[in-house]
Symmetry: C2
Subunit: 447 residues, 2 copies
Amino acid sequence: MWRLLASGERHVYPVNPNVSEVMGRAAYARIIDIPEPIDLAVIVVRSSQVPTVLQECIQKGVKAAVVISGGFAETGEPGTKLEAEVVKIARQGGIRFIGPNTMGHADSSSRISTLAWTIELTPGPVALIAQSGNLGNRILLGGMNLGIGFSKFISAGNEADLHLEDYLEYLGQDDHTKIITAYVEGLREGRRFFQLAKEITARKPVIVIKAGGTTESARAARSHTGALAGSEAVYAAAFRQAGVIRVEDDDKLCDVVIALLNQPLPRSNRVGILAIGGGLGVVATEACEREGLVVAPLTSVTIDRLSALLPPRWPHANPVDLVGMNATADNSVILASLLALMEDENIDAVLLQAPLAFGVNFLTNIFHFNAEEIKAFEERQKSNLSMLRQKVSEYGKPVFVVMPVNDLETNSYFLRQGIPAYASPQRAARVLRHLAWYKSYLDSNQR
Amino acid sequence: MWRLLASGERHVYPVNPNVSEVMGRAAYARIIDIPEPIDLAVIVVRSSQVPTVLQECIQKGVKAAVVISGGFAETGEPGTKLEAEVVKIARQGGIRFIGPNTMGHADSSSRISTLAWTIELTPGPVALIAQSGNLGNRILLGGMNLGIGFSKFISAGNEADLHLEDYLEYLGQDDHTKIITAYVEGLREGRRFFQLAKEITARKPVIVIKAGGTTESARAARSHTGALAGSEAVYAAAFRQAGVIRVEDDDKLCDVVIALLNQPLPRSNRVGILAIGGGLGVVATEACEREGLVVAPLTSVTIDRLSALLPPRWPHANPVDLVGMNATADNSVILASLLALMEDENIDAVLLQAPLAFGVNFLTNIFHFNAEEIKAFEERQKSNLSMLRQKVSEYGKPVFVVMPVNDLETNSYFLRQGIPAYASPQRAARVLRHLAWYKSYLDSNQR
């Protein structure tokens, strides 16, 4: 109720036989007493009352409901029977519903949200279906902190009526949704999921966290939503064949999303590394190799170009170490070296571990710059990043940043300029692996 | 010079034949012209001048130097010869030095720092040796952001004279240092390192990032510091036998350090999980199992105690789901459930994914609490955390927090109260694995 009113929705009618008003709105004893037609019923009564309430919704001509109430199949035998009864009533009455045992849903274009406690969705092209309300909220809030905007969120709950597969089908056709993400414990219609996914991933990336892949977690998933986690090997193969990008947790889900929102897919998995400091290059190289990326040999053209830019003792190989450069100096050499790497025909993507830009706090607190120095530095770095964005789109080669010193403010500065910045080379390399894999999937399915 | 003056050090003498003063201090043409005795020479001249400058230091009676200058073995054959010449001069003159090609060092107790650009070390019990100055800085700044204090930092550089092993030996005996961390590309005295480590880990944890474990990264490491990365399998076995905790990157290094600084070692690897929401429990369980931890069965005593606290539909098993609890309500039930888990004889450590506390911004922006509500909530959570700290130390069982909604401010709130909070269950589980392994190492070596 609070969330709906906060979104500015005017046609909200509280139904409660025990009070005369709720949050300043006149309360109705039953839904059939409301004088206006009702599009959506949000049901938050105890489970034993849900059948009666649902029957009244049907009488009222409601076609859609969100059943937030818990106490159904997730609680054992009597709850399972009650849930079956609710489904039967809904089917007979022609009403479709989310839940029960859902945390609600949200739609950023209509601004309708039935989520009790989270903040309003930042509008954007990413949809999320979650077989756990809390985990869904974790992804939403974490993602919005990174500037990710969401089109739709559905906490799937027990999926007594509408299944995760229904939401997937809908989002596949939804023009507000360009990227689909999901937290999955188990699929009720596995075959349908994979057929839908195969069709959708040709047009929109689908990114999934699949939990319950170990013995005890599968048991816990069963007790949570009654979902059968199923064979890990079968899921892995099916995701692969359907072009679904599978990630291990919500951080990595957001990592992939910010890359897909801002950068092109790499043609293949050959990466160039530009680092200020040999150690950073070593660690980034190891991270890339462990993710199956190729730290590609440079062409002689690139070596000549870099030799003209860097001191003679640069390593003349990939990873490129900007030997002993002063990070506070003019960083046009970093940009020029980066462009040389991007133009190398052996390289499909660049991992940049050099200070092409900094957040203002960093310039103040670490470099001790005064206001004038900050202004001059910022102008240079903005023009550098604008040039970089242009080249990324011209060459179709993604560039990921990992700052030599991990600084949230600087990472978010890069991201606002359309360049994803990650906390560690491991995370950047993992994202590049996913993107290169997805590209190869698309290529082999288009042939 | 700037860093030394900023630390308040008064006995700083610039040496530069081309100017009359540096940062307001009279400059000397040569070190031998300084009228006072000199304890430490910081050498930042071009490499070809280092032999002469070092000879003058010896004339002056200097016993220690930091050679920041680059252009030695890391650049190829002529540099290697020059480096050998410098070592020969130092040995003959009885001077020991860090570097060359080092970013400097820092000591938080004397406040002497030769680091050019980083902020001052926050004093504390953690020492860091880094075979990469930039990576060292990454760890220092990332760690200090998390509230980790440092005793000493050494950027090892080319290790022409003093080796990583010398620093390790020193730190093993240093009373200001309780935890030793290192970024290692290759060991010059492998056998000595492992003998020292084996002796030190019985008293102080040693945590190492070892890079260069893949083909291309080993090649890059060779070009960086001339270190031979060596066989991955040999290193892995040697670290294991010496009780060295090996982590994969700087995030995970800091994760382990904040646990060791705040929590006891678990007796073994049996973990209890308390989550608000089934999905969170499923994901945490999977993370623990993948790290080789045991999500232990609960005793009947614990099940009875939890049944008295939670609604009947709680899953009656580990992971414990606080089914449908309102996070904004009084969280004494969370604390009571947590204590019940901690008191279970089957459980050595608890992973808490429930809102026992929140940062103030979270209470304001997400829960929309007013000032009075915030004050009441804060008082409750402070008293809860104080009770928790007491029980952690009483039972000797570590508790790690992963907030249902990842919120940096809340994580840092927990950490300030002595309870490590991690961004994801995967990271918490990884830390628990390291701690349980270290405990089992200590146990088997004490028998």
